[in-house]
């Protein structure tokens, strides 16, 4: 059987409207051969998790540039657990101070990519760490 493509969700939690990075990343993932689902802006963690389960994604990439990552990122992981969907890996990116990274990782976010991270590094990380389900 042909190996399923990686299904990746790019999500914008909260009220932050900065979507340049998220849209660039979504395009780069598409060009890398992933199946991409982009949530659009202004999603609550609940909406993101619901959509991720419905779409049966392998990974959620969260983007935040307005400082609310400390609430939203852990909340997404927590809701995935509550819904028995913690096989979906969560990574994050955006304007995230270094000192916040350890507590986000502790909360279950697998990796954080900060400004200047090359697109290729993010794609390579995903290829190395995520296997498509089934």
């Amino acid at each position: 059987m042909e190996k399923r493509k990686l299904r990746v969700m790019v999500a914008k939690p909260g009220l932050d409207g900065h979507d340049r990075g998220a849209r660039v990343i979504a395009r780069a993932f598409r060009d890398a051969g992933f199946e991409v689902i982009y949530t659009g802006l202004h999603q609550t963690p609940e909406e993101i998790v619901k959509a991720a389960i419905q779409e049966d994604v392998d990974l959620i990439g969260l983007s935040s540039l307005a400082g609310a990552h400390r609430y939203h990122f852990p909340k997404v992981v927590e809701l995935l657990r509550e819904n028995n969907a913690d096989d979906i890996v969560v990574i994050g990116g955006g304007i995230i101070p270094d000192e916040d990274v350890p507590r986000l990782k502790e909360a279950g976010i697998k990796e954080i990519f900060t400004p200047g991270a090359p697109l290729q590094d993010i794609i390579d990380w995903i290829r190395k760490n995520i296997n498509p389900k089934r």
Binding site: V10, G14, L15, D16, G17, H18, D19, R20, A22, R23, V24, A26, R27, A28, V36, Y38, T39, G40, L41, H42, T44, A66, G67, A68, R70, Y71, H72, K75, I95, P97, D98, E99, T114, P115, G116, P118, L119, Q120
Partner: protein, 561 residues
């Protein structure tokens, strides 16, 4: 025929240029040209040299002329910085109203000459801090404003009758402006004396910044309400700041920034005229807001082209008679997107170059970014360095001595002409689509910007474009800088404050005011006085915005990439 040069010189120049070409080839035979393409940050190819041949059709009086005179290529005021320097207006907002008030006082003490307010995400989107949608966002990227009490605390002790205030607010702009007017009136200041700006530019929100509340049509209705109200009631206020800044930050090129912004401006002018307003009554209070990115000459040419384009549009297309209606006055902010998290002190240098371009482009006011704004809201120290950057440009560099010192440069004039021409082509394309509202519905500007942003990122990835410290001159070990953290506890305290106000106010009167506002929306009346009445009774931001959401519906991001 050229009115600037004696055409007889062109032949001589051409001949000399050929001689130079031959010398050039010899030089390249020894050492090849450094790069295949020499481009601007917007991926525009730049020639090796510019001469009178590049501006041979130039008519000095028609195209360049004098500042304060049509077509204003060299500046809107006749005296420019010889009379008064640009307004140093640092964008600030953090945590609660009291925290931000403290920052305002610091900046004024250190010599800034105008105030500029950054709001947090819930405020920008028309939600109160206690909304479930606002969880984790209070005070994070600006100040939280729920009620008039917050507005009172924000401007406590600041001379708002003498200093102008800019407020970067869009969907709830009529409400925040209403609160500002109410606050001033409670302090005994006549609304007719108030000077300042609300951003209030929803078109660029749909295009780029993406804080939205209502669909485009009712958004435009509320904007024209503020224009109409301002013209009569608050005549010194700039009711729209037509903004290219966010379009550029979202990844557009300089020409796209120019074209989309001016297209937005055309749409507002048309809508106000359709409301029955006389163009010369409102046009002088329209203002603009541009980005100043890293490509020095391209930015200067952009500002000069913008002024000339707007003057032509207002005079020729909209038949404005008052020269003030022809003025394109603008605020500039240096490019946040050009700053790097790596080696953050380099950002001071970037901001200096960008600030310099804004000044050489003739800006009316300027915000210079802090070195740490790529990481968080600025610390006091970083914000002070950023303010000092423009003070050094103003007081030490000498660039403010002569007006438009780059006017007449073959390169700058040729670039100004080219950018104007290209921007007018895009504007025409939008007109042919049926105007900016239709273009937005078709996602035209949104997708053009996304294409440019992706191309730019690819060029960085491939090393074709250098960003110092990011893809060249990278350092393994970096020294972390101190950054500002917003206390999570603020959210609870802010909610408590608003709850206290809600329990102390006359809730019956609040309800009455909100009902009257709803009726006004249904009857298509101007909403401004109703908003001012409601916020004076301490109706919250969200309570007022919920009326709009109920009447007009909400806009959702289509999520296209």
């Amino acid at each position: 025929m050229s009115k600037t040069f004696n055409p007889k010189i062109f032949e001589d120049i051409e001949r000399e240029q050929e001689r130079w070409q031959m010398e050039l080839e010899k030089a390249f035979a020894i050492r090849a040209e450094r790069k295949k393409r020499f481009t601007t940050v917007s991926d525009r190819e730049i020639d090796r040299i510019y001469t009178p041949l590049d501006i041979r059709d130039q008519d000095f009086l028609r195209d360049i002329g004098f500042p304060g005179l049509y077509p204003f290529t060299r500046g809107v005021q006749p005296s420019m910085y010889r009379g008064r320097l640009w307004t140093m207006r640092m964008f600030a907002g953090l945590g609660t109203a009291k925290d931000t008030n403290k920052r305002f006082h610091l900046l004024v003490k250190e010599g800034q000459t105008g105030l500029s307010t950054a709001f947090d995400m819930p405020t920008l989107m028309g939600y109160d801090t206690d909304s479930p949608k606002a969880r984790g966002e209070c005070g994070k990227c600006g100040v939280a404003i729920d009620t008039l009490k917050d507005m009172e605390d924000l401007f406590e002790g600041l001379p708002i009758d003498r200093i102008t205030t800019s407020m970067t607010i869009n969907p709830p702009a009529p409400v925040i402006w209403g609160m500002y007017i109410a606050m001033a009136e409670k302090r005994g200041i006549d609304r007719k004396l108030l000077g300042g700006t609300i951003q209030n530019d929803m078109l660029k929100e749909f295009i780029a910044q993406k804080t939205f509340m209502l669909p485009p049509e009712p958004s435009l209705k509320l904007i024209i309400d503020t224009v109409e109200f301002g013209t009569k009631e608050v005549p010194k206020w700039n009711t729209i700041s037509i903004s290219g800044y966010h379009i550029r930050e979202a990844g557009s090129t300089a020409v796209q920034e120019l074209a989309f912004t001016i297209s937005d401006g055309i749409t507002y002018v048309q809508a106000a005229i359709e409301r029955g307003l006389n163009v010369d009554d409102f046009a002088p209070r329209l203002s603009f807001f541009f980005n100043s990115h890293m490509d020095f000459f391209e930015e200067i040419a952009k500002f000069r082209a913008a002024r000339r384009m707007w003057a032509k549009i207002m005079k020729e297309r909209f038949k404005a008679k008052n020269p003030r209606s022809w003025w394109l006055r603008f605020h500039t902010q240096t490019a946040g997107c050009s700053l790097t998290a790596q080696q953050p002190y380099n950002n001071i240098v970037r901001t200096t170059i960008e600030g310099l371009a804004a000044v050489l482009g003739g800006t009316q006011s300027l915000h210079t970014n802090s070195l740490d704004e790529v990481l968080a809201l600025p610390t006091e120290e970083a914000a002070t360095i950023a303010l000092r950057t423009q003070q050094i440009i103003a007081e030490e560099s000498g660039v403010a001595n002569a007006i438009d010192p780059l006017g007449g440069s073959y390169f700058v004039e040729a670039l100004t002409n080219k950018m104007e021409e290209e921007a007018f082509e895009i504007i025409e394309k939008i007109e042919n689509m049926g105007g900016m509202l239709t273009a937005i519905e078709k996602h035209y500007p949104q997708m053009e910007i996304a294409d440019s942003a992706y191309r730019y990122q690819k060029q960085i990835e491939e090393g074709e474009r250098v960003v110092v410290g990011v893809n060249k001159y990278v350092m393994e070990e970096e020294i972390p800088i101190e950054i500002l953290q917003i206390d999570e506890e603020l959210e609870r305290l802010q909610i408590e404050k608003t709850n206290r106000i809600k329990s102390e106010r006359d809730n019956k009167r609040v309800r009455k005011c909100l009902e009257r506002l709803e009726d006004a929306c249904m009857n298509d009346e101007n909403v401004m006085e109703y908003i001012i009445d409601a916020v004076k009774e301490y109706a919250t931001l969200q309570e007022v915005c919920d009326v709009f959401r109920k009447v007009y519906g909400e806009y959702k991001d289509p999520g296209i990439y």
